[in-house]
């Protein structure tokens, strides 16, 4: 089987030749990643803070739900969402099925528990008394949250990377909700799946390699920012 080798060559060729098909796949993949990650952060960070720091009845249940969401099978999420998006279903009138907007929503739903659960876990494992002391020194709710976010930044960066990784590599929900339509809402991962299903192994490998390159690039960039943020916590290089 020399599909791997020919796939690598084909992937490189597609990349350098500026193939519009591949460009479109990359753009769709990055859009899905950006939209879903930002949406998940906007909603998931406050949720994770409330679950991780708050004291209210049902907090354990909320945490368990977030953790369940963390391991929820994407196929299940895709199935439920696509059924909800059928014309006669509650979300039908928004015309989301087989559209990029639907894929944004599905991937955001998948990323939300990732951000929520990992944020909750990160702020829960902050040093005992950190937030209590801030409250005792008069910190407002907002200041307490800002402190928690800042101190848990390594864990929150991990949550962001996990959400980005999920968006880059997700196929189950994307295919069910989006329909895996070439030129519309097909992503690199779902295109690779389609190519392999159709027996186009070299094309599948080519796309997978491009996807892998994109993942390395994006995650390495995020990791560098994470390391920079963590520098203050870990290494003592003050000259004092």
């Amino acid at each position: 089987m020399d599909f791997l080798w020919s796939g690598i060559r084909q992937g490189w060729h597609l990349l350098v030749s500026g193939d519009p098909y591949l460009d479109h796949l990359i753009v769709v993949t990055l859009k899905v990643t950006a939209v879903s990650t930002i949406a998940a952060l906007v909603v998931g960070l406050p949720l994770g803070l409330v679950i991780g720091l708050g004291r209210f009845p049902g907090r354990g249940v909320a945490r368990a739900l977030a953790n369940i969401g963390l391991v929820l099978p994407p196929v299940l999420v895709g199935l439920v969402l696509s059924l909800l998006m059928f014309p006669a279903s509650p979300l039908g009138r928004f015309h989301l099925l087989f559209t990029l907007r639907g894929v944004y929503l599905a991937q955001s739903v998948l990323a939300l528990p990732i951000v929520t659960a990992l944020t909750a876990s990160a702020v829960t494992s902050l040093p005992e008394g950190l937030i209590d002391q801030a409250r005792a020194f008069g910190a407002s709710r907002t200041q307490q949250w800002a402190l928690a976010l800042r101190e848990a930044r390594f864990g929150i960066a991990t949550a962001t990377i996990a959400a980005v990784g999920s968006a880059l590599s997700e196929v189950g929900a994307v295919v069910l909700v989006g329909g895996n339509i070439e030129g519309s809402d097909q992503t690199l991962a779902s295109a690779a799946l389609e190519k392999v299903n159709a027996g186009q192994f070299a094309e599948g490998v080519a796309i997978a390699i491009v996807l892998l390159g994109l993942i390395v690039l994006v995650v390495a960039a995020l990791t560098a920012l994470q390391v920079r943020g963590a520098r203050f916590t870990a290494a003592g290089r003050s000259s004092a």
Binding site: H95, G183, V196, N197, G199, A224
Partner: protein
């Protein structure tokens, strides 16, 4: 994996690179517009056979975009049963499927409910065929003994399988290919559903599973989870990967003869495509084109595809069916240019004929008119109207017209109806010189009366130029222009 950024310079460089990379990502997102920003999507849900063979990507999507610049094709590949379910829920504008026993219920859901099809019936678009693949050393000897008798070939494989010399790879489940396979196994049963082959036990599948029979370790009705004989493997894979699995033929309890002894049923379009990409190395076609005198007859391995526009009145409110787009797509599919392109797709791969053949419009054969002729002299055209799709009923009692085309306009000069075998006779007295054509309008044709309700389809209008006639006025020798 990542450097530890010991020196400030290295750290700065790394952060800079990260920032540039993220900025690049953002730029790509912001810059690039959607490919189809200005065109309307026509959502067609349909069998993955059409997309897995690359027909959609290579021919239909670019062709439709070129022919109807306001639209682009969104083809959503699903199994036939699933595709119909999506269409009935209003999730798509149109449908491409290949299962007459399900399509008839799409057209007539019963209980007085409206048809899910916007048109009276589905449109014939093209047909393909199923082929039996086997390894090059062909341990069951199928290629030599039964190249055009698939039932006999199945029997040979079962016997060789029981002897530990061959394996059969099924997709399992209820995709069209498996249902087809179950119909073939059924032809090896005698009275009471008992197997006619020594060493082969068959169980009967329910109508909900598509009917037919499957190899099993116990006879009678198949249980929900069938226990297969050791030489029979159900993979649960899609068409392409299933062929690849048969090519590898690497099953834990595969028969003892070593590797490379798997047989499987697939559609020829997929196989031709896989061969063209060299994804298959060991498998070859061992049985195809079932003979008319073989069990099951010449239709047994034929695979008819039909296309539908979804009826906006039948699906749930808010469905937002783009019926104009769907109709445009059907018109594009059945247009002569598309039909020619489909019939040419992958033709000549491995010296084979094309895997898909356009059958949207019937074929007209007719005798040539006499020319030159004196105005008002009666002549008769004999001809026949034939459905391109093989093994279909004759086109009986269908209207045909004879028209003359002159200076861009046409005028009907004779009409007739076909007889029981599709033959027709058109008598006319030419008064005008011009090109004479036999034409048909859109025809409704009942294809399968064995189903309830009977299955019918629509054939696209067809025209056949039979010749230029020069009419000479009586008493003069001068022809009109």
């Amino acid at each position: 994996m990542f450097p530890s950024f010991r020196s400030p310079a290295a750290r700065g460089a790394a952060i800079g690179a990260a920032a540039v990379a993220l900025a690049g990502v953002v730029a790509v997102i912001v810059r690039a517009p959607a490919v189809h920003a200005s065109t309307t999507a026509v959502n067609i849900v349909g069998t993955s056979d059409v997309s897995d063979s690359d027909l959609v990507q290579s021919v239909l999507a670019p062709g439709f975009a070129a022919a109807y610049p306001g639209y682009h094709l969104n083809y959503i590949p699903k199994g036939t049963g699933a595709a119909i379910a999506y269409a009935e829920s209003g999730a798509a504008d149109g449908l491409i499927v290949h299962a007459e026993s399900l399509e008839n219920q799409f057209v007539d859901p019963g209980n007085g409910r409206p048809s899910y099809s916007y048109e009276p019936f589905g449109r014939a678009i093209f047909y393909g065929d199923f082929v039996l693949l086997g390894p090059s050393d062909d341990p069951a000897g199928v290629l030599a003994r039964a190249p055009h008798d698939v039932v006999d070939a199945f029997k040979d494989i079962a016997v060789a399988g029981a002897a530990g010399k061959a394996d059969f790879v099924s997709r399992g489940g209820t995709p069209g290919t498996t249902v087809e396979e179950h119909q073939i196994w059924q032809l090896l049963t005698g009275s009471g559903g008992a197997s006619k082959v020594d060493g082969l036990t068959l169980c009967e599948l329910s109508a909900a599973d598509g009917g037919g029979y499957s190899p099993s370790t116990a006879s009678g009705s198949c249980p929900a989870s069938i226990r297969y004989p050791s030489w029979y493997h159900a993979t649960g894979l899609n068409q392409g990967p299933n062929v690849e699995a048969g090519d590898a033929c690497d099953f834990p309890n595969a028969s003892r003869s070593g590797s490379n002894d798997c047989y499987l049923l697939t559609d020829r379009g997929t196989f031709d495509y896989l061969e063209s990409t060299h994804a298959v190395s060991k498998l070859q076609v061992v049985t195809r084109d079932n003979a008319a005198n073989a069990p099951g007859g010449s239709t047994l391995l034929t695979n008819y595809f039909h296309a539908y526009a979804v009826n906006p009145a039948a699906v749930p409110a808010h469905s937002d069916i783009d019926i104009t787009g769907a109709e445009d797509f059907l018109n594009y599919l059945t247009s002569p240019a598309t039909q020619t392109a489909v019939s040419a797709y992958l033709a000549g791969t491995n010296g084979d004929t094309a895997p898909f053949t356009g059958d949207a419009a019937p074929l007209i054969t007719a005798s040539e008119p006499k020319t030159p002729t004196t105005a008002g002299t009666e002549q008769t055209i004999h001809g026949r109207l034939v459905n391109v799709a093989p093994a279909t009923p004759p086109l009986a009692s269908q209207p045909v017209k004879l028209v003359v085309a002159r200076r861009g306009t046409t005028r009907t000069v004779a009409t007739a109806k076909t007889d029981a075998t599709g033959h027709f006779t058109l008598s006319f007295r030419p008064t005008t010189s011009g090109v004479y054509l036999v034409v048909t309008g859109r025809l409704t044709q009942v294809e399968n009366t064995a189903l309830t309700p009977a299955f019918a389809d629509l054939l696209a209008p067809s025209a056949k130029a039979i010749g230029r006639v020069v009419v000479v006025r009586p008493g003069t020798a001068r022809s009109t222009r």
